[in-house]
């Protein structure tokens, strides 16, 4: 019987198109369970597999470093604890096979964590599943076997933890389709950074199918594609590949407009490990380092020392270029797990960014101290998110001063980096002259939605009003740029507007000469800039970009 084409709608989480076999991660242990031996042999089999699992995890932690390593450290500690496998060893002594005894023992641990009322403890169930599967596989005598995931396969899963994603080889993965999950999740960030097309929130279990197409532009998973669908998809993949290779070639060299204006193009960094070195070399620096992963990925924020190491590892790779770190920007729509927040009726207008940090200095201080220590190591700048009045900048600056004094008293090397603010609220843009910050970086995503009172994901009519190139936006940006020029302060723009070809010219016509864009957009943005003439433009922004 001919299979019919089936379509499942989800949300795009990382752009791209992929075609390949549809694969599910094998659940539980290997089906080919090893033949049972004597209790002594079975005990030895389990103990050896656990030691091998620790070795694999150590290798993985060593390769990934940073946050990813911290996630794996907990599993290593658990596997090294004889109490973990004690019930399994007792069951083996009573006649069970190592395989059955291990699965029964881990099922107990998993159920126990899953029944917890505390979300942090509940989340450990997935770590236990990882351990269960890894050890079971090793007992079957197989090393990290990726045979279940053929090259270019589309992986279907209910959800995926960062540790599981990291254990996959992103270069082999064609695409990722999650039944649950969120485009804001850390896995989505990793997928975007590593160029793995991803959709999430399919919401229901798809049918069994051998072949699939993952369209992360429309957010669709297509099973058993017809020949016409498959051909259309192949054409799009080829087109994307050509565009990607020409953009990659355009990455090197300065971005100079046709009429001779040099534009600095920096990159935004979410996940340092995932930004290739050639992109960092080709960029004019890093214009935005998002630090949320330091707080959100693990079960708890990294401490000062771990944050310092995390930041320093990126700084070392950036080399001579500037590196602008944004302090913690959570709250509102990106809540920090474990913080008992009163649900806000309108999180975008609530406790976000600098507001949350000033409310919770115990959370903010370790980051400030880590960044002050980092400032002696390279061209570091620090900027504060979601500032709306000058006193927020003053209060934050006072905290920085206090922490610097503490560090000096402790004899720790530290320095005050240039401290700037992000311009994300119309209030900050309009009253730009009241802040006296060291530099300004326009966060065009938030500035657009607050100025236009229209959410990007608002859909239909609302989303169509979310125009970074509107007259109001261009006037605000021009106002900030002019203030920067008049007072000798650097102004840059680090939102998605900078990589939007339809508004790029209007942005540069305001006098803006510094953009920070997603690593994947670097080549394309430089390409666009080189084809623009901007000096005969209208700086007041009367030429509205309708489709911006």
């Amino acid at each position: 019987m001919k299979n019919t084409e089936l379509r499942y709608a989800g949300q795009p989480a990382a752009p791209g198109v992929a075609a390949g076999p549809l694969v599910r991660r094998p659940v539980a242990a290997s089906p080919d369970r090893p033949a049972g031996g004597t209790p002594a042999e079975e005990c030895a089999r389990l103990t050896r597999a656990m030691a091998d699992a620790v070795a694999e995890l150590r290798a993985l932690a060593g390769r990934e470093g940073g946050d990813a390593a911290a996630v794996l450290e907990f599993q290593i500690e658990m596997l090294n604890d004889s109490a973990l496998s004690a019930p399994a060893l007792a069951a083996i002594a009573a006649g069970d096979s190592a395989h059955d005894a291990w699965l029964a023992c881990m099922t107990e641990h998993i159920a126990n964590y899953r029944s917890s009322t505390d979300e942090h403890f509940r989340a450990r169930a997935t770590d236990c599943e990882d351990m269960r599967d890894r050890v079971a596989r090793l007992m079957a005598g197989r090393h990290e076997d990726r045979a279940w995931l053929p090259e270019g396969a589309i992986l279907l899963d209910t959800d995926l933890t960062p540790s599981r994603f990291l254990a996959l080889n992103a270069a082999r993965l064609g695409g990722l389709a999650l039944i649950n999950g969120s485009a804001a999740s850390h896995v989505a960030v990793l997928a975007r950074a590593r160029g793995v097309p991803m959709i999430c929130g399919i919401g229901r279990e798809p049918a069994q199918a051998a072949a699939a197409i993952l369209d992360a532009e429309t957010g669709e998973l297509v099973l058993n594609p017809t020949q016409a669908t498959a051909e259309e998809c192949a054409r799009r993949i080829a087109r994307r590949r050509r565009a990607a290779s020409s953009a990659h070639a355009a990455m090197a060299g300065d971005a100079v407009t046709e009429d001779g204006e040099r534009v600095a193009v920096l990159v935004n960094v979410d996940e340092p490990d995932a930004v290739p070195d050639d992109v960092l070399r080709a960029a004019d620096g890093v214009g935005l380092v998002r630090t949320e992963s330091v707080f959100l990925d693990g079960e708890e924020p990294l401490d000062e020392a771990a944050q310092y190491r995390h930041y320093a590892a990126l700084l070392a790779r950036v080399g001579d270029g500037p590196c602008v770190f944004r302090t913690l920007d959570v709250g509102g729509d990106k809540p920090l797990p474990g913080l008992a927040e009163v649900p806000e009726r309108n999180p975008f207008l609530g406790i976000r960014g600098i507001r949350l940090c000033l409310d919770r200095p115990e959370l903010f201080r370790p980051q400030i101290r880590a960044l002050l220590r980092l400032a002696v190591d390279g061209r570091v700048s620090v900027m504060l998110p979601m500032v709306s009045v000058a006193e927020e900048y003053r209060d934050a600056r006072a905290l920085f001063d206090e922490c610097l004094a503490d560090l000096r008293a402790e004899g720790v090397a530290a320095a005050m980096p240039p401290l700037g603010i992000m311009i994300e609220t119309p209030a900050a843009a309009i009253a730009i002259d009241t802040f006296g910050a060291d530099f300004y970086s326009i966060g065009s995503n938030d500035l657009t939605q607050y100025t236009m009172a229209a959410a990007r994901d608002g859909g239909g009519r609302v989303a169509s009003l979310n125009r970074p190139g509107s007259v109001a936006m261009l006037r605000l940006i021009a106002h900030v740029v002019r203030h920067g020029r008049d007072t000798g302060r650097e102004v840059s723009l680090c939102g998605d507007a900078g990589s939007n070809p339809t508004v790029l010219r209007a942005l540069l016509a305001t006098g803006l000469r510094r953009l920070s864009v997603a690593p994947s957009a670097l080549g394309h943005v430089k390409q666009c800039i080189r084809q623009l003439r901007i000096l005969d433009g209208d700086e007041t922004g009367r030429n509205e970009q309708q489709d911006g």
């Binding site: 500690e77 505390d118 079960e299 708890e300 474990g338």
Partner: protein
Amino acid sequence: MRTARGRVPIRHHTGLHARPAVKLTRLARTFPAEVRLRGSPDGTWVDAKSIVNVMSLKLPTGTTLEIEVTGEGAESALAALTGLVARDFDEEH
């Protein structure tokens, strides 16, 4: 045999959870003495050198942790362990 006991509140926002638990058990294992923990006056004592046991307590933030050390160097081990918890596992400054 010397026994030392102390109590210290857990302030970490995730409770005695993955990373704090890793730190605590690693520190406990550096002492030759026996180290036990419990999360309430009528709670079960568990071996502080075993992360599986420590995690099984599922102690949330705000819990007063009771630590009991028996054997060589009990006092200094207790001071080091309560110190780590009191310093919030060296994650705040």
